[in-house]
Chain length 219, copies 2
């Protein structure tokens, strides 16, 4: 089962595939929210389930042998559409929209009822997932990528369901370790502070591009 | 908008509602996985979307005004069916099955393609979410509940998609702070170690039951 793939998809086809993926995943995201908050009776639920199973049957007719994996396109872009936090084709992901400018990596999302932990508040673990992703992206954007080694969160206050924004910056690099700090905020201010150490895997040290090609070839 | 609710649902009705909720959420979970890994063409996707939108429309006919919240039943049980990690009516949740015996709290789940981060591996943030929940449950099960104050994860190795098991124990209590440690493992061994400090909110200190009734009355 391939985990990393090299692809060669033209830009217009990629844009088209992306639009289809977003339409599908967004429709499932809306379904998820309705599932969490519905108050309809058992007969309606049974009726809804029939449609859900029909949709699943249609989609399952052809499927990847494993998970989506991570795909590198010939234009240098990376596709991680299956990612549980930012994957645009993964309905579990809000998804977080990630941006980068002047050394600052940010992530924004609107978190609805499907991300609840304490009553009315975002689940602390979902916050950790978002910070893991945004801090990891900050390391990558600063040219010092790695896998999560250590991640520490300090929860300053409850995070209300609704719009959130995470921010992260690379603090320093020591050998294969990238030290990143960040926060997650709502319009009430900073709710959570985070620190992460991201470690470049041994196989990726040295000439990263060569190693990656080798890894892809071996996958 | 109510966040905490007191309910009085008879045991047999609760069991019936639970069965319906699980059937619905499980059907959406299967749909999510198919969405992540489908390879069908655009026409089939459009066809699936029509069914998904129909299901959403049926479920959205009557809905809660906000998120699911947390409900306390007259038999002493707690319903957090909307919880993003353990909520049995929340398709974002795997859900983690939680158990407790002899001071050990465990959580088990089968994590499929919808929980991917690095290729073929569980997203580090999803692992953090699971550990947050299981460590928090360990504090609660040991009679020293709290909101997450600090959470630290050390990632020892990649966690393959598939069955996982988390374990946690209360280490000690200092005033309102509960110190909990835990791990997340696969059949390859321990993948992640975690420490958490869970803090009893100020409003809940003293006579918790009285405070809770007060909070519920005010919600």
């Amino acid at each position: 089962m391939s985990k990393y793939l090299l692809e060669d998809i033209p830009a217009d086809e990629l844009a088209q595939r992306s639009a289809v993926a977003v339409r599908l995943a967004d429709s499932v995201r809306e379904l998820i929210e309705s599932t969490v908050v519905t108050e309809v009776g058992d007969e309606s639920v049974a009726d809804a389930i029939r449609h859900i199973e029909k949709a699943r049957e249609i989609l399952a007719a052809e499927r990847l042998p494993g998970a989506f994996g991570i795909r590198f396109n010939s234009d240098g872009t990376k596709r991680n559409w299956g990612n549980a936090v930012v994957g645009l084709r993964n309905p579990v992901a809000p998804p977080i929209e990630i941006g980068y400018e002047d050394g600052l990596t940010w992530g924004e999302a609107e978190l609805g009822p499907a991300y609840e932990g304490p009553a009315g508040l975002v689940h602390g673990g979902i916050i950790a997932a978002i910070l893991d992703q945004v801090l990891g992206s900050a390391a990558e954007n600063a040219g010092a990528p790695g896998m999560t080694g250590t991640l520490t969160m300090r929860y300053r206050r409850g995070t209300r369901l609704g719009p959130i924004r995470a921010e992260a910056r690379l603090d320093r690099v020591e050998g294969p370790k990238s030290f990143v700090t960040g926060t997650l905020s709502t319009d009430e201010g900073v709710c959570v502070e985070a620190e992460g150490i991201f470690i470049l895997p041994k196989w990726a040290r040295g000439d990263v591009a060569d190693k990656l090609r080798k890894a892809v070839g071996e996958a």
